[in-house]
Each structure stands twice: as structure tokens, then as C-alpha cells.
Amino acid sequence: MLILTCPCCGVTAEETEFHAGGEAHLKRFGPGSDNADFENYLFMRENPKGVHFERWRHNNGCGKWFYAARCTMTLEVFGTYLAQTYEPPADLCAKISAKRPGWSWGRFS
């Protein structure tokens, strides 16, 4: 069971108050993009053992979307952050590096 803190309303709750929304920081390829990019955007996902970034929604609470960084192996939640960003905040990445040296995920490390 994950314990998440919503960065929008500040509530800390277990995962049943939230809803998972898939991989974080996807770059959208829409009409006019080439087939390979569109296929990657639509179907290809990270599936790491370890550090992972996801979208979550506080659906039974304030209703807002946010991002979470967690470990898929231990279910440790490294942190959550607001959705209005293209990348994880530097202090969160530093915190993850202290706990999981050498981690990388997608274009982040």
C-alpha cells in the first residue's frame, strides 16, 4: 500500500483515496507526427524495477492531478510534486540519488 501526500491540498492518505494515472512526463505526439513517434507516445512505457515516476489524481479528495516518484520494488514514495512542470524538481532528484545512487528513468537521472 502506498502512502501519498497530495502536493495540492496537503492531505496524506493511502492509495485508495487516489487514482493512478499512468506514466509521468509523457511527451505527446499528435496529428502530423511521424509513425514511430506516435507509436512510442501511444504504446511504449517505462517498466522499471526501482525508481519510477507516475501521474496520480486525488480523486476522492481535492480532485487535482499531481506527480509522484516511487520505488516499484519497495513501494517507498520518494516524493510528490505539482503537475505544472515538465521534469521532476531538482531537490527530489537529489533525494532519490541519495537513496538509489546511479538511478535513471527515461531522460532523467
Binding site: 496537503g10 492518505a13 476522492n60 480532485g63 487535482k64
Partner: protein, 189 residues
Amino acid sequence: MSNLVTALNGASDANGIATITEVPLQGMITLRGDLSKAAIKTAATTAAGVDMPGQSQANMNGASGITWMSTDELLILCPYGDVAANLATMTKALAKTHALAVDVSDARASFTVSGPNARDVMAKLVPVDLAKGSFEPGMFRRTRMAQVAAAFWMTDADTFQIVCFRSVADYVFEVLKIAAQPGSEVDFL
């Protein structure tokens, strides 16, 4: 004129370890907008007659009050008969502000759970720490009750008030009755 009734027509149950009562017709107005804007704050406090609540808080005064629903949403409570007048005043006051005020009184149901075991009963249904000191009157929480969305606050040390969608009023009443069935005290909180 139609006969105005609440979802369960004032149902109540006192056979269990806490008393569950449907709240009579309660005026509720959803107000959405930038809560830091003076116009929004004034519209809310004028309609409810109480100060703005802080994050995750509820300011109540009898059947009137303001609850903090999210960073851009308030639920304003007022007497059922005052909703139309309050809404008209708010809409006028917010004419030049990006905001939304809607009467949701008939789209919601409300219950109280009261008695010394009220904390036990609620704690069986919500993923929230309801220990004394962790949740107290003045605080407000939107969460789920078993399988449906709900919000609640405490009106005194032994009483919770719940707001849920009208369409799930029967479910909430029944699930509260199950959580309060005789002999089911947990005595943990």
C-alpha cells in the same frame, strides 16, 4: 409547488453503537475560483456569515458555514430557504470575477453520526486517521466512505457531519448502519 424532501426523507437509526440521522434540507452552494481573490472571499463570507476557513478546514455556525473543498473550491452552507437570495447576491458580486457559483443543495445528501462511538464508526469506513488529536472539530476532509466519495467534519467532540452525493445517500446510510451495528465497538481510537 412540489413537496421538497431530502434523499431519504429524514431517515434515522439509533439501534447501533452510534446514532445516524439524515440532516434536514440543507442549503449548499459550490463556489469555484481563485480563493486568494478578495471578491471570492467576500462573496463566500457574506453568504455564510463566517470567516474564510484555512486549507482543509471548515468554519461552521449552525446550519451555515464554509468548507474548504480544494485549492479552488469552497462549499458554502446556508439555510435551505436562503440559497436563491445568496446565489443572486454572489452572482452579482462576482460578475467581473472568473468564478462559478452553483446551487447543489438538491444534488447532495447529508448525515450526522453521533455518540461516544462516532469515531469508531467513521474510522471503519474512511482511510483517515480519526484518533483524538488527529481529527478534531474545525477540520474538514474530503475522502471516500467505503466505495463512494464523501466529505465530513465534526460539529462537536462526538458528532460527525457527512456530505455525499444524493445518488448514493441510501448506500451511505446503509453502510453507516453496518459500521454501527450493535456490539461492534472497536475501542481503539
